[in-house]
């Protein structure tokens, strides 16, 4: 084999290892940020309604900072190789999208759409072949949000807020109806979608308890 041919082939073989290292570093960064995000959002379960805007305010700058990471990953990924590397960051990306969507619910009570989610994280349309927000990742994030909302329904009552469970119930049922319109395959997404039923069941139980309590305070404190 002539040396040039050889050199060329050897280069091709080596490049990938190096790239993987660099992406890994960015993912570690990304992971730290999403860890902070979920840590902050976890406080919602003991935050009274009045202080929610304050909590949301502390989350926003961290969400904002994710833009740098997505930009760095888009920069690193060679054109056309999105599908080759995406598994490395999809866990982090889903967590970031979950945070963005949860914040949106807390702020406006509405659902963050896929393009808006991408925008919030600074993902640009022109990165299409290097870094994009797939439907699958977006849907995973929404399911994570529902998991948290069922917990929030329970904890709101503990904190004396009897309206939140009703709002959550309506919001989640609507979202669930949306999922029911999708033609999901028998994959991880389908399994997690199936598990949503338990969250709905929990929320319904809370709504049930709250409704009956309101009208019929059957038992009185007897500690």
């Amino acid at each position: 084999m002539d040396p040039q041919n050889l050199e060329y082939i050897n280069q091709l073989l080596d490049k990938d290892v190096e790239l993987r290292e660099k992406i890994k570093d960015q993912v570690t960064e990304f992971d730290k940020k999403t860890r902070t995000l979920t840590g902050l959002l976890n406080k919602i379960h003991s935050t009274p309604p009045s202080q929610v805007p304050e909590l949301v305010a502390t989350v926003t700058p961290v969400l904002q900072s994710c833009k740098e990471t997505t930009a760095a990953l888009a920069e690193l990924t060679p054109p056309n190789q999105f599908w080759r590397w995406k598994d490395m960051w999809s866990v982090s990306l889903r967590n970031a999208v979950f945070s963005a969507a949860f914040v949106e619910y807390l702020r406006s009570g509405g659902l963050l759409s896929l393009p808006r989610a991408a925008e919030t994280l600074g993902i640009k349309d022109e990165w299409q072949d290097r870094f994009t927000l797939s439907a699958e990742d977006y849907l995973h994030a929404l399911i994570t949000m529902v998991n948290e909302l069922s917990r929030l329904a329970v904890n709101s009552v503990t904190m004396g807020d009897f309206e939140q469970p009703l709002k959550i119930s309506t919001f989640v049922k609507d979202l669930f109806a949306g999922f029911a319109m999708l033609n999901l395959k028998n994959d991880a997404l389908r399994r997690r979608y199936d598990s949503l039923k338990y969250d709905i069941k929990k929320i319904e139980e809370v709504v049930y308890d709250v409704s009956l309590r309101k009208l019929a305070p059957v038992q009185t404190d007897n500690t």
Binding site: L166, S169, T170, K173, F176, A177, A180, M181, N183, D194, K197, Y198, I200, K201, E204, E205, V207, Y208, D209, V210, S211, L212, K214, L215, A216, V218
Partner: protein, 249 residues
């Protein structure tokens, strides 16, 4: 064709024939697999459609009515699936059916799952072997192909998973609360009936475990409902009214 082939040319000639035969077989196989995949997809959509229709009916109309509307929509769509089976008729004529059974089987089972779910919502019973076979027959009652016993049973076994989903979502459905108990008793009966047949069908044995898990989940739902109603000791209708009013506020 000579009986003993002693030249390269004569050998190539008969292999030419084999090639055609094998190609023919593989092509048919591919067509049937594709068709079975279409059947699977359509049937899955029917199942989704049923769950969706039941969800849509939430609180707006009477439980029975909601069920029947779901059933009639499902039956409509199931006709498309039955037409696909009718279209396979020629492909699996004569001894060909059993040659290709394994290729057709996944779709067939998913169809039976969808059909039996619609049937349950309509009649509250398990669809019989003959009813399924009839749904796979032409107007004269001539079957498109024989219904394999294992496909029938495996399809029914999957039904219990869908009933579990039905039972869990029933908790948020007006009047549906009593449904959970009904489904619980029905699935318990299915599991018992299947149990006697497991020695003969290895795959059914595996699915029985899934059925047992589904049953436990349904039992948990029935339990959750019972516990909450017991606390107040009011008729379920009244409880439903109270909840509905609160949510509507």
């Amino acid at each position: 064709m000579s009986v003993v082939l002693s030249s390269r040319d004569s050998i190539l000639e008969v292999f030419d024939h084999f090639r055609d035969e094998l190609d023919d077989f593989h092509d048919r196989r591919e067509r049937l697999i594709k068709c079975s995949r279409d059947v699977t997809n359509l049937s899955k959509k029917v199942i989704f459609l049923i769950h969706r229709s039941l969800t849509e009916g939430l609180g707006q109309s009477d439980e029975r009515e909601t069920s029947l509307r779901a059933v009639s929509r499902a039956k409509e769509k199931l006709k498309d699936v039955q037409n696909l089976f009718a279209g396979m008729r020629e492909e699996v004529a004569g001894d060909r059916f059993w040659r290709h059974q394994r290729n057709v089987s996944p779709g067939l089972q998913e169809y039976i799952e969808a059909l039996s779910l619609a049937h349950y919502l309509e009649c509250q019973t398990l669809i019989s072997y003959e009813e399924v076979q009839k749904s796979l027959s032409d107007a004269d009652g001539t079957p498109y192909f024989p219904l394999p016993l294992d496909d029938y049973l495996l399809g029914l076994s999957d039904l219990t998973g869908e009933l579990m989903r039905y039972a869990i979502s029933s908790i948020s459905r007006r009047g549906g609360r009593s449904k959970a108990n009904e489904v619980c008793i029905f699935v318990r009966g299915c599991r018992a009936d299947f149990e006697g047949l497991t020695p003969h069908f290895r795959e059914l044995r595996k699915k029985q475990q899934v059925t047992s898990q589904s049953l436990e989940k349904i039992e948990d739902v029935a339990y959750a409902i019972a516990v909450r109603s017991s606390e107040y000791d009011l008729p379920p209708e009244l409880l439903d009214d109270i909840v509905e009013r609160t949510v509507a506020e």
